[in-house]
Amino acid sequence: MHLNKRQAPMISKSFIKATVLGVVVLLSACNSTPTFDEMTVRMRNTDEVKVLDMRSIKVNGLMKAEATILVKSTKKNITYRFMWIDQNAFQVYGDEAWKPLPVGSGQSGVLVGIAPGPAAVNFRLELSSD
């Protein structure tokens, strides 16, 4: 195959551009992990509850989610539940029952949820109040 020497630097430049673009796309994809705030769905005013930490693990093929929260006040009845999401970003297993927060005023605690089945690969924490 005959190579045109004048075209060689042009090919290299476009190759570098494409490589840089690819790296940027990859890096931005790596940074797309949702924050705690993005993983918390607040219905009505639930500012009394601050989410300090969230984590998840697969236990026997079932997703276990934990959220550490700080409850500033219990003047309002605040409730929570976990929403389970499959690999296609669809909600699975329907809505869980709302549960009252098991944490008193001024205290922190851990909310724990285990997905009903193996299809769940992600979760959201839902908070609501009266």
Partner: protein, 198 residues
């Protein structure tokens, strides 16, 4: 005086009749509510307690070594949960809900419980004793799977009350026994505290 009394009586009778008519005529407002919402009508055992207990107990059991270490889903049978509270609680609703969640997880298998056994036996007899079924489709006797484990439990409550406050503390306790050895392989409890105040 007599006239006044009579007029009073007539007036009272009229008011009473009106009240009865109005009372009979007005029907309560009915609407569908969120079945998942937190229910706080009173301190009695309610739907939120039932759903909370079922979720927590299921999660705990699915994390137990018995379930985690089993190659095949362990086979369990359900025993009635004893109600040791002074209230009427349908404990069967709690255990059935727990069983449903465990079965749907695919990590635990259940065989017919003691209360469901009669139907199972009746069906086996029906297929094997009346000569109506072909031998190919007939379910053979003596092929039932014995449970490796049994799930037992109870629910208790402590009630404290004065003229302004009522405090009820429910404890739901569940135990998993190994049927072969009698060893308790898992046990957990879920507490619920409900307070009503004027």
């Amino acid at each position: 005086m007599k006239t006044l009394n009579l007029s009073k009586i007539k007036y009272l009778a009229l008011v009473s009749a009106l009240l009865v008519i109005v009372g009979c005529g007005s029907s309560p407002t009915v609407k569908y509510a969120d079945t998942k919402a937190v229910e706080t009508v009173n301190t009695d055992f309610g739907s939120t307690d039932l759903q909370t207990i079922a979720e927590k107990m299921t999660g705990s059991l699915l994390e137990s070594r018995t379930v985690l270490d089993s190659r095949e889903p362990p086979v369990v049978t359900l025993y009635p949960v004893k109600n040791k509270t002074s209230d009427y609680i349908d404990t069967n609703a709690i255990t059935t809900r727990i069983r449903g969640r465990l079965v749907r997880s695919g990590r635990v298998q259940f065989v017919a419980s003691t209360s469901e056994m009669q139907n199972q036996v009746d069906e086996l007899k029906r297929q094997n004793q009346n000569g109506l079924y072909s031998s190919q489709s007939q379910v053979a006797m003596g092929q039932m799977t014995g449970a490796q484990y049994r799930l037992e439990g109870f629910i208790t409550s402590i009630v404290k009350q004065n003229k302004d406050v009522k405090d009820v503390f429910y404890t739901f306790h569940l135990t998993l026994f190994n049927n072969k050895t009698g060893v308790i392989v898992w046990e957990d409890e879920q507490d619920i505290r409900k307070t009503a105040s004027r």
